[in-house]
Symmetry: C2
Subunit: 400 residues, 2 copies
């Protein structure tokens, strides 16, 4: 019964032109059209060899789904305990929002304190398997910290480019991991520009969101976990704070795989992107029913992880919203800070600004009639609040 089979990963294909790419060498974006590549699996074979109960009693990390992840050599896996994060029911918070089944998926309980750990555990593991020795990333903060941690654990050199006004603790952790750090005047898009000027000559492998195919595979495990945590069923709605959008795209891919595997039935969740009023390119595009977004000028918000003026794979984010019957909404900084305070005071749950923004979208979604009170809703808290000391301070002052 194929007990030695470790992964059903078989191919890479372009998300736009469908061109296939070899899996035994390093791949970035599509060599034909420049779009994001996606990993494909032999799901028929997986279906014959696995069932939901196969995962019981396995390691409490995202690597419990190793057959549906792209690493072929288990010895290449770089793990710091990522994934298998708590799903917490908000009882008073649900009542306040008029929702009877409201959950927080708490990604703050990840190494380096954010959901970025999943993507970078997968991508760095695969980079190690492929013999890549030097990687680089532009980041709003958390992805840089996660890459620094996983690259260090893998013995791979890393170069991290952050906006110079990134929260102090994100800068400290990158320094502490001892990797090469560059602080750039501007936004994550400027950090990317500075990185790209150096990357080619230096031969660094680009770990930017959706510019290599494997961070997405790590992120998709959030979708597998939701299925397993809900007893192999899926919630009605997923509310997701959207910067680069890899998590949302990844979960939508996971739900498609789960359907093909025959492990879940019925309608897939409606996906909701939440952005900040001060940086809402996906919301703007969604409202215009556009296939892509436009660069958001003058991006500014307290939710540093959502200060992404344009996501590289915006077409895949929008596609997931349209296909799922979802939507996109923007909330104000003030609404996010209020939601942070309310969740702490009503349910004892600390959210990061991005997770708080997602929670703050609920009244908008119920008022518009998008959400009804009896639906099962999962709000993603993408990181740990303690990485946002300045905002905690503001928020805790507001509460007294």
């Amino acid at each position: 019964m194929a007990s030695d089979l470790r992964s059903f990963f078989t191919h890479l294909y372009c998300s736009v032109c469908r061109a296939e790419h070899a899996i035994d060498e390093a791949q970035g974006v599509c060599r034909a059209c420049g779009a994001a590549l996606l990993a494909g699996y032999d799901l028929d074979l997986a279906r014959r060899n696995l069932r939901p109960s196969s995962f019981e009693g396995r390691v409490g990390t995202m690597w419990r789904y190793r057959e549906l992840l792209p690493v072929l050599d288990p010895g290449a896996i770089v793990t710091l305990g990522e994934g298998w994060t708590p799903l917490i029911r908000l009882k008073p918070g649900g009542v306040a929002a008029g929702m009877s089944s409201l959950y927080i998926k708490d990604e703050g309980c990840n190494p380096t304190g954010s959901f970025k750990a999943r993507g970078l555990s997968a991508a760095v593991s695969k980079a190690r398997e492929l013999g890549i020795g030097e990687v680089c990333i532009p980041s709003a903060g958390n992805a840089g910290g996660a890459l620094a941690a996983y690259a260090t654990a893998a013995g791979i050199s890393a170069h991290v480019f952050l906006p110079e006004d990134t929260p102090r603790i994100n800068i400290q952790e990158v320094r502490l991991f001892g990797v090469d750090l560059h602080l750039v005047d501007g936004l994550i898009s400027d950090a990317a520009k500075a990185m790209n000027e150096r990357r080619g000559p230096a031969g660094w492998f680009d770990m930017s969101t959706m510019k290599e195919p494997y961070r997405l595979e790590g992120k998709k495990t959030m979708g597998y976990e939701l299925a397993e945590q809900f007893g192999w069923s899926l919630p009605d709605v997923i509310v997701y704070p959207t910067g680069g959008g890899t998590g949302l795209i990844g979960m939508w891919k996971a739900f498609d795989e789960l359907e093909k595997l025959g492990w879940v039935e019925g309608r897939k969740p409606r996906m909701v992107s939440v952005q900040m009023a001060g940086c809402a390119p996906v919301v703007k595009a969604f409202e215009a029913r556009a296939p892509k977004s436009e660069f958001w000028e003058g991006a500014a918000t307290v939710a540093s992880g959502l200060r992404v003026p344009r996501a590289f794979a915006d077409h895949l984010i929008l596609q997931a919203l349209y296909e799922s019957g979802g939507c996109a909404v923007a909330v104000s900084d003030e609404a996010a800070l209020r939601a942070m305070r309310n969740a702490a005071r009503s349910d004892g749950v600390l959210l990061c600004p991005e997770g708080a923004a997602a929670l703050a979208a609920l009244p908008v979604l119920t008022e518009s009639g998008f959400l009804s009170g009896g639906e099962t809703v999962v709000v993603f808290n993408t990181g740990i609040a303690y990485k946002y000391a300045e905002i905690l301070e503001r928020s805790s002052e507001g509460s007294n």
Copy 2:
């Protein structure tokens, strides 16, 4: 097969005089002699109804061991996703320490970012079951935050007493949870004094370490998890940063229960207490082979969680060290900060100062011959580094 049995909890007994206490009402310390109370279970019945495989496929929190926890009404459980934390193998870090099987149990991946969540999830759940409406705690920081979170989630009023020089973020989170906060000039022992002046007249229930019987039960789940994560065997040595010592006492209790349940065999782990040179009452007592410790005057260390001049249940800590063939060692602040930097740079792992102190004890333990290189060693990282921004700053500067 007793599928409706939720807990095998049967009795409370005094850790010193063995006097039994009723379990259907609120209990603090022993009414006869004032010592700590311990929870007892019908382990024979548990053994007939459970086996190690019973836990597979269960919720990824410490409540997977609910039959061995003291809450009788599952509806009383207050959970924010605590426990079932990662066990991370330190490869380069192990090589550097001369250890082939070195692990970090990463308790930073808990709600409120510390191992305190376990104890307070158990104690607050039991308080809710018993109808207790108002609780109080003195804390060096993390326990206060955890109590604030769980009490809020339970709808119980909480009063938290912290030293006024507690790290800023610990103060912020208590404020954000909206509970009653008192900042006290002095150490945790002074915070306890200030609390005790108010507690009696106000009728608050005391949640101090080991002064009620159930925080210990939550903490003991660290021992059950180690057994399950190691495939129902136990490591040779556990290295534990020791302030109030509940985790160490709890694990030693868990190992005893696991032995009686017949789920583990062979010699139980040798327990090692690590304290700071600036506050080492347990080390001093251990070196004198004393049954109890003395109050440590002028306690001072960067590891705020270890600034505990005397643990209430010091006799149980020392008993676990003596019975297990363990020991107690003190390390300097500098050694702890160096260990923090080394773990980040070699293994991509961020430790809190207390966890770093425990790691810093390894060279002392190998040089003394206590540890040999082939043994399986687990070092506890009790909290998330991001709650220690000032120390991260110092440590990251030291690394450049």
